[in-house]
Symmetry: C2
Subunit: 279 residues, 2 copies
């Protein structure tokens, strides 16, 4: 598996890198960010995967979240994949910021033409997982996952369906139930087709009820000034599903915070320390 180094910068005594590779799952060149803390020079380290939100690339979290400082202190690696395939011309893939490029929703598309490339779930849980575990000093058996908005939902669905991989789970302002919000309905219809019964395996609230979660409590931060909270994110649906499924949820509503990375950066330290304590 040929990895190409795109960039490599020292950061808090470790290294913040961007890598690219030809992906079998998505049939295109993919990029991901990798932070290796100083401790990775001496052995395998636990890792936090971060899934970004709509319109993002692998760069947003790397540049804006300020996570490296705490990761360096705690000896955790950070893996930040891109949010969709890139460089493929599918009809309509760049017409909207909430569908197509930058908006994979981390599902494996079943509908043509998306199914040929939009295999982001398989890309992350199989291909990229295997690649980074083989190539870098990461302890795959101590993996946590988090993400923001669409990526927060991605983290929930991947963790709930891969509990043997993801040992600790959190999210920032996640979409709670794409089956029940405009962003999600558009995406699931596009990638999975009109049959709503096929959507449940890509919906975090449905998965909570069908699969449960026996890991540590799920930590979720939600800004109360987030303009998408009431219509798209709907944290009350996550709360309700966790209550039904008897899954412990720590949902923290943060007064005054909006949906952006100033919100994420304000609380990323709490999430990293929480995950480190669980791994």
């Amino acid at each position: 598996m040929a990895l190409k180094k795109v960039s490599d910068s020292r950061s808090f005594g470790g290294v913040q890198q961007v890598w690219s590779h030809e992906s079998e799952a998505t049939g295109c060149t993919m990029r991901f960010g990798l932070y290796l803390p100083p401790q990775a020079a001496h052995g395998h380290v636990p890792v936090l995967w971060w899934l970004s939100g709509l319109t993002c690339t692998e760069e947003n979290f790397i540049v804006k979240a300020g996570a490296q400082r705490v990761a360096a202190e705690l000896g955790m690696a950070l893996v930040a994949p891109d949010t969709s395939p890139r460089g493929i011309a599918l009809p309509g893939d760049r017409e909207a910021w909430d569908f197509g490029v930058g908006a994979s929703f981390y599902v494996d598309a079943t509908r043509e033409p998306w199914s040929r490339h939009y295999q982001m779930r398989r890309y992350i849980t199989e291909e990229l997982r295997g690649l980074v575990a083989a190539e870098f000093p990461l302890d795959d058996s101590r993996t946590a996952m988090s993400g923001h908005s669409m990526g927060g939902h991605g983290a929930l669905t991947i963790a709930l369906t891969c509990p043997n991989w993801i040992r600790s789970l959190s999210a920032f302002a996640p979409i709670s139930s794409p089956m029940r919000c405009p962003w999600g309905e558009k995406a699931l219809k596009g990638y999975l087709g009109e049959d709503r019964s096929s959507w449940a395996t890509s919906d975090a609230t449905a998965l909570l009820i069908s699969k449960g979660w026996s890991g540590p409590p799920i930590l979720v931060d939600q800004g109360e000034a987030d303009p998408f909270m009431a219509t798209q994110l709907r944290p009350e649906l996550l709360e309700a599903a966790c209550a039904v499924a008897q899954v412990p949820l720590q949902l923290r509503r943060q007064p005054g915070y909006d949906h952006g990375y100033f919100f994420v950066s304000s609380f990323i330290e709490d999430h990293l320390r929480y995950h480190r304590s669980q791994l």
Copy 2:
């Protein structure tokens, strides 16, 4: 003075804002970033001005440096001006990334057509200084200044010529002497004209010798893997000028670090704590 709020996001219990206003000095609409820590709700707070480098806007430092966390803890405000006038069409102002838009070098241009708008030194030291002191709970008598690359040089020149305003001074990978590097020679020739004798009041090493500095030691971080160090930044010239002028300099050469914001973010905490201790 009419200020328009461009954005306003809660960050570490304070607020990260962007404001715009019509500038008399530059004859155009200018933007600046302002971080107000939680303590600013209760009274005037000390302030760090940050001057950014080539190609930057008011956004880079706000988004990438991770300074808000420490500023919130220390009760310091952050003011981040833009790096040049914007929205004016001068011949050649967008042809190169090291001259014109995004590349003011924080001088008051004397050469046409730049002199009409490129009055960034006056903009910062008079207009914006007065504006933010009047409009926000900032303690102008406790002001520190820092910056990166071209902005590190800007901080040096402004502090050395405004010692009654700037009480504490630092820089990240500053251009040491624009009179003696390609970026600087191009800029000073363009903004000030061919006569090199007019350049000395815009050169930090010349100002160190002519004006001295009776403030606390100047803190400078320089990455040793910075590709611009040998040809453009030339920290040895800053060291030599400080030695001649008997100005205390703490120049820290940081092994492995490059010229980017991963370098800045790794050490911004040290600079904030240093300035806070001096104010």
